[in-house]
Symmetry: C2
Subunit: 301 residues, 2 copies
């Protein structure tokens, strides 16, 4: 060891990988990098990995199941220590690949899925139901849903919304778009919803960008928030707290999710899989703020 430090010896990772047939790479496959939602996950993952011998390798499949499958193949070829993927797999082939994989697999974001090995996330449908029920309790009668992109998890949030409005015997009022979410789209969706359902007195959105856009549109139209109209977003972006008024949202600890995903992987890398081995619920917190009537925090995990 003294010689090691004296000569400045550093092991050759390639040789090590060749001989041992494994690498210290941890793959992190994400549907998007434009979205700051995944940015927090990446940050948590990076922070957990730093100081360990492991390396994080990021893949971006842009919400394409086909691209995702291709990336899984590429990553698996490297014999990584583990793979972190977002949610329930889109193609059968992807699921098969991950099931047969020689490494640990962590599914993040969603836990209401077929867990392949490990999972870290939350139940999106329940979170949505909880938020919408909160709006009802605050006296909003005709709650609508605004959603962009409408990927799998967004659809679950919509289901949660649907269940909540059905519970109080209300009809659902929905405006969605397949475009990527943005404040601009949020404003457009609100405009569309109000045109079709003028009686709407609150919206739950699948996403904070959309909520932000809706709040700004209300500002332009002179709609009084929260008195005559309520808004609740989803994700807990920091910025929402700074707006006038601060925007209510379902807050998710995505940094911790990324951190935990890597942590589980490293801790259990040699442990061997067990069916339904680990499914970590990171929970959520509905942060009632200025765009809704009450300010009672509802915590659940």
């Amino acid at each position: 060891m003294t010689a090691v430090t004296r000569l400045g010896y550093v092991p050759n990772l390639a040789a090590s990988a060749l001989a041992s047939r494994r690498t210290d790479v941890i793959g992190l496959l994400l549907p998007s990098l434009s979205n700051n939602v995944y940015l927090d996950v990446v940050n948590g993952a990076f922070d957990r990995v730093s100081g360990t011998p492991h390396t994080l390798q990021i893949g971006n499949h842009r919400y394409s199941p086909f691209e995702e499958e291709k990336l899984i193949r590429v990553f698996l070829q490297q014999n990584p220590t583990g793979l972190i993927v977002a949610g329930g797999e889109q193609t059968m082939a992807s699921a098969d690949l991950l099931r047969e994989a020689a490494c640990r697999v962590v599914q993040i974001m969603d836990i209401d899925i077929d867990v392949i090995d490990l999972a870290v996330g939350l139940n999106h449908e329940r979170a949505a139901t909880e938020a919408v029920s909160g709006l009802h309790r605050q006296g909003y009668r005709h709650v609508g849903f605004l959603g962009a992109r409408m990927d799998r998890r967004s659809q679950k949030r919509m289901e949660g919304y649907r269940r909540a409005v059905a519970d109080v015997g209300e009809a659902d009022r929905v405006s969605t778009s397949l475009q990527p979410s943005s404040a601009r789209i949020g404003a457009d969706l609100l405009t569309d919803l109000l045109a079709r359902h003028p009686e709407t007195d609150a919206v739950f959105t699948n996403n904070d960008d959309i909520a932000l856009g809706a709040a700004l549109e209300c500002q332009r139209r002179g709609i009084r928030v929260p008195d005559t109209f309520g808004i609740c977003g989803f994700n807990g972006m920091d910025l929402l707290q700074e707006m006038n008024p601060p925007i209510s949202t379902v807050s998710i600890d995505r940094y911790r999710m990324g951190w935990l995903a890597v942590d589980r992987l490293i801790e259990l890398k040699d442990a061997g899989r067990v069916a339904g081995g680990g499914c970590e619920d990171i929970g959520f917190e509905v942060a009632w703020r200025g765009t809704t009537r009450e300010e009672i925090a509802v915590k659940e995990s």
Copy 2:
């Protein structure tokens, strides 16, 4: 080749790396991942890399020169195809390492630096001067500067601001913080500046988050923007366009910067270095919007 496809042969990267003493890895060393500024760079880089045999490996040194140097060492050990680093190197050792490196090196963000090999970015000082001069032309007399984090490039923007106010014989009014930038800090900085310099009638900020926070603080204080107070940010975050009113900013094509950095690397990977070989100026565009008096776009590249 028919056999390759028939048997599903895939080359072993580790063996290839061991024998050839090189890898297809491109390292991307960034000061931060929390900041959406670098997210756009990452996106551009990923998009350029996808479809090539190359792999992107991200490093995050959190604005720490020491961490950066350590990361450069780690990345260089892998014999990467190239390294992309943000700006002028902080430590002498980092600069030496990169100068002696066996691979191509691209410095991004800033071009007003000692270029080691290749550079893709813009002149931050000039961009700031341009923006502040614009505020003067629009009739604002006492322009202040708001800045958070105050890393090297932020300081250059402040220099650009200082030069512009000096040009019109004005005193500089500055409020800065070393904390990471956020809308919250932006509001605090504006509060501080107005307390010390109540005559201030416009601000240029080192960052869009800060501009956003300043605009929201003006909203809360009932300060009339843009009539009695002007605001111009820096970076060109999409969100700024959606605010009421839309916030003026210096728009930077960071996606293209990331894309180009990887592109230069791939195109020139076998070309051998030439002194001052390539320095690509991606320019900037001052987007005058609703928080300033005129709406004349000033383009420069």
